[in-house]
């Protein structure tokens, strides 16, 4: 009875901060909630982050503590997350990262390359995360991150997510097929396996892992030294490098020769879309689709098509529209309960979050991408997209 009422009081105290993007409840929540009665309608975080940008759990934030060059066009960003970040993610997952450029926050998703709950001894044992970014041709934000983001920059973060993950315990036999920046989620998995093996020495710490990675030239290989080192240190890990500049695309038929037991392996593949399509077909032909895990990166481009399939995530409906039909119209036509107001772009009551894809503002042609909030009444699909409604 007493416990129950203590619980009740605690819940009442925490109510104002319940909606913040904290990972799980902490003892601080009751305190923040109590303080929020004083700072209402704001949260105490809104005042605290004026002192230190990381002292806020209202929106996840992080500070870039180091930028490490991996190749000529790729960097690793080591980030110290602020309050409320969930460090117990699953290796292979990605996070959303928001970066401020010209007064505007730009959001992209990048795979976590660090193992969960990672403390970097070089950084006074603080818990950190890392992501690797490869500059895409015409990729606005990736170029910015690779070429110019200074250490100390404060970024926004979205909680780790994604189903391309390594289970715990991992399967006995594993095959990784990666190309280009597709290596990044796998790097997170490899580092996790390595850390776990270090914590549990002895046989069986490392499963039997084969990693086939393609890159154009030797200079383009991200994490080359680390892969070689792992290959040398861990007898059950084989890293196979395939340089496409010299030898052309990696032929999947070559697997029979290189690793004849590939059919017995649980496979994770990540890389260019064409490669993934080939792999999918190859595995389907072998009747092994169940043992294949695939991650498709969103392709970072600046110009996309007009119109496309709009998916309304929460109501589970979708519609095919042209480049001139508004998203609001499309939703209403397919029977989705869309919030609406003025229908001319002035009242902001029809705003919903764009979960995936791109949309275009019909008034000025401005493009919006995943993670942004869009006005459905004056936006049209620019390719396939998903709305959170």
């Amino acid at each position: 009875m007493v416990l129950k009422s203590v619980q009740g009081v605690r819940e009442w105290l925490e109510a104002p901060v319940a909606e913040a993007k904290m990972a799980g409840r902490t003892r601080l929540d009751a305190l923040r909630g109590a303080a929020a009665r004083v700072t209402t309608p704001l949260l105490p975080d809104d005042y605290l982050h004026l002192i230190n940008p990381l002292w806020s759990a209202r929106e996840l934030r992080g500070r870039i503590v180091s930028v490490r060059k991996e190749t000529t066009d790729a960097v690793t960003l080591v980030i110290k997350p602020g309050w409320g970040f969930d460090f117990t993610f699953t290796p292979g997952q990605y996070i959303g990262i928001g970066v401020l450029v010209d007064g505007r926050w730009h959001w992209r998703s990048y795979s976590l390359t660090s193992p969960p709950n990672w403390t970097d001894p070089g950084s006074r044992s603080r818990r950190l995360i890392s992501i690797a970014v490869k500059a895409m041709p015409e990729g606005f934000l990736s170029s910015h991150l690779v070429n110019g983001v200074p250490e100390g920059t404060v970024v926004r973060l979205a909680a780790p997510q994604g189903g391309f993950v390594l289970p715990e315990p991992p399967p006995a036999k594993v095959l990784f097929l990666t190309a280009g920046s597709g290596i990044t989620p796998v790097m997170g998995m490899l580092r996790t396996m390595d850390r776990r093996a270090a914590a549990r020495p002895g046989p069986g710490g490392w499963p039997d892992v084969v990693h086939v990675h393609s890159a154009r030239t030797a200079e383009d290989v991200m994490f080359a030294t680390e892969l070689r080192d792992l290959h040398d240190r861990r007898p059950s890990f084989t890293a196979h490098l395939h340089l496409t500049g010299a030898r052309g695309k990696f032929a999947l038929t070559g697997l029979d020769e290189l690793f004849p037991d590939w059919r017995e392996r649980e496979t994770w593949a990540c890389g260019p879309l064409a490669m993934l399509d080939d792999i999918e077909k190859h595995w389907a032909a072998a009747g092994l689709s169940d043992h294949l895990h695939i991650e498709r990166f969103e392709v970072e481009r600046s110009a996309v098509g007009e119109g496309g399939t709009v998916t309304f995530a929460r109501s589970g409906r979708s519609a095919e529209i042209d480049g001139a039909t508004s998203l609001l119209q499309a939703g209403e036509d397919s029977g989705v309960q869309m919030p609406f107001g003025c229908r001319m772009g002035i009242c902001q009551t029809c705003v919903v979050t764009l979960a995936d894809g791109r949309v275009r503002d019909l008034r000025n042609g401005a493009e919006h991408q995943a993670g942004e909030k869009v006005q459905t009444c004056i936006s049209a699909a620019a390719g396939d997209c998903t709305l959170e409604v």
Partner: protein, 484 residues
């Protein structure tokens, strides 16, 4: 009757309005494309300054038993609340800073320091008010449901209380707005009136509880022995904020020249006509940079109504371009000092408290609003026949080649109406004179007739007397003859 045909009222053709709309769209695009780091810095700096000021005020109020600390605390808290309301809450909820894509400075997440929930205000204000600006029966902000602000609204005995209602509304403005938005929210979302635990009711109750307990319970309690003076200080700061926001809103919508429209105008309204309605329905007041900031840049109410979702800090530069358009199309740009604009609104409030029989003007030519009919029945010297607007017969000044439109027409109508009134007065005086003359003449004639009648009567009496004497003499003679 308020404006039913904006084309006729504005003295513009459909094609003109279309071009005007495109020119305004260009302004919009130019500003949108130039938004960047400088603008983002502006709003972040404003937020930081406001929060620092508020914290300083709350800290100062711990010593509020001291007269000076109380005064300083109230001043700082009032300013903090005003900035929070005008430049932050109002503008962010309009989506002016959504382009930054910052989840913490976004129309969908900002909650302001007023009794009503932001979401309810957004529906009532951004949607009802900004879409249907000054349309009778559609824009509930027109008098906020308690004041009669145009002669188109029928007078009811309740309106006699307008002077008091106005004071009450000013002092408790945040509550007026909160109740107003709450009822519109319920109306728009079709919630049964008597359903006590409906979502709008719950959101409203929660917000009020938090706001009231913050200023009137928690903060006073935190200051311990100074609770009483802190309570008074918080109440005063809220009152100051209410009076100021009330004044700014009233100066933006109710001075003379801020026109009202009928629902007829909404039928097939084009984008250009919508722009024009915003322009003609709002009023500015002149302000320097400090006053502009404290009013949330709503001294640029016209620009705000044209571009409600463009960062307020850009209104000053937009106003230069809007004024140029007004000159080009010869449209009025209603502005004046804060005091003048408020006095005009104040006059309307008190005038319209009275029934129509005490009012000289009609809804077609009243100072607080007019309609296209204002121009009917008067001849304007510089314009062709004002009742027929045809594209071929377009009013362009033959000498300068400049367009002659609404602004000239209004000015000339003012002169023409005055002249008409003078002529009517003159005619009246002449008619009166003539009547007086006629009356005098008739009186004269009457007197003469009476005299004549009197003379005639006298004459007749004399004749009668003479005849009587003669008859008597005859009778005497006859008697004497018989006796002989």
């Amino acid at each position: 009757m308020a404006i039913t045909d904006i084309k006729a009222f504005a003295h513009l053709t459909a094609a003109d309005i279309e071009t005007l709309g495109q020119e305004l769209d260009t302004i919009r695009r130019d500003v949108e494309q130039s938004l960047g780091e400088r603008d983002a810095k502006y709003i972040r700096r404003t937020i930081r300054a406001q929060r620092t000021l508020e914290m300083a005020a709350r800290a100062t109020l711990f010593g509020s038993r001291n007269r000076w600390a109380w005064g300083a605390g109230v001043a700082m808290l009032s300013v903090a609340k005003i900035i929070e309301n005008m430049e932050l809450g109002h503008n962010i909820s309009h989506g002016q800073w959504d382009w930054m894509n910052d989840p913490e400075i976004h129309s969908t997440s900002w909650e302001w320091d007023m009794t009503g929930p932001s979401a309810q205000w957004q529906r009532a204000h951004n949607y009802s008010h900004h879409m249907y600006t000054n349309v009778l029966g559609k824009d509930e902000d027109l008098g906020f449901g308690i004041l009669r602000m145009t002669r188109d609204e029928q007078w009811r005995p309740l309106h006699l209380a307008q002077p008091v209602a106005n004071l009450l509304l000013a002092a408790t403005f945040e509550w007026g707005i909160a109740l107003h938005d709450w009822s519109i929210e319920k109306q728009l979302s079709d919630v049964p009136r008597w359903q006590l635990m409906s979502e709008p009711n719950r959101a409203f109750g929660r917000k009020i509880a938090r706001q009231v307990s913050k200023d009137f319970l928690i903060h006073p309690a935190l200051t311990g022995p100074a609770w009483k003076s802190t309570l008074k200080a918080n109440a005063t700061a809220n009152l100051v904020r209410n009076l100021w926001t009330y004044a700014v809103i009233f100066c933006g919508h109710f001075p003379d020249g801020a026109e009202k429209f009928t629902v007829d105008q909404l039928v097939d309204e084009t984008r250009g006509e919508w722009y024009l309605r915003q322009m003609l329905g709002s009023a500015n007041f002149s302000a320097g940079p400090v006053m502009a900031f404290m009013s949330g840049n709503l001294c640029y109410q016209i620009e705000h109504h044209l571009f409600p979702d463009i960062p307020s800090s850009r209104y000053p530069e937009i106003s230069v371009r809007v004024r140029e358009l007004c000159d080009k199309y010869d449209l009025p740009y209603t502005t004046g000092s804060l005091g003048k604009q408020y006095l005009l609104a104040f006059r309307t409030i008190h005038k319209l408290a009275l029934p129509d029989r005490f009012l000289r003007r009609t809804a077609d030519d009243a100072p607080e609003t007019s309609s296209e009919r204002k121009f009917a029945g008067i001849t304007l010297p510089m314009l062709p026949n004002t009742e027929v607007w045809t594209e071929s017969h377009w009013p362009v000044d033959p000498v300068t080649g400049e367009r002659r439109g609404l602004r000239s027409a209004l000015a000339e109508a003012k002169v023409a109406l005055k002249e008409k009134a003078r002529q009517e007065k003159e005619a009246l005086r002449e008619a009166k004179q003539a009547l007086q003359d006629k009356a005098r003449h008739e009186q004269q004639a009457l007197r003469e007739t009476r005299q004549a009648l009197r003379d005639k009567a006298q004459e007749e009496r004399r004749v009668l007397r003479r005849r009587a004497l003669r008859e008597r003499a005859i009778r005497r003679v006859r008697r004497r003859q018989r006796a002989n």
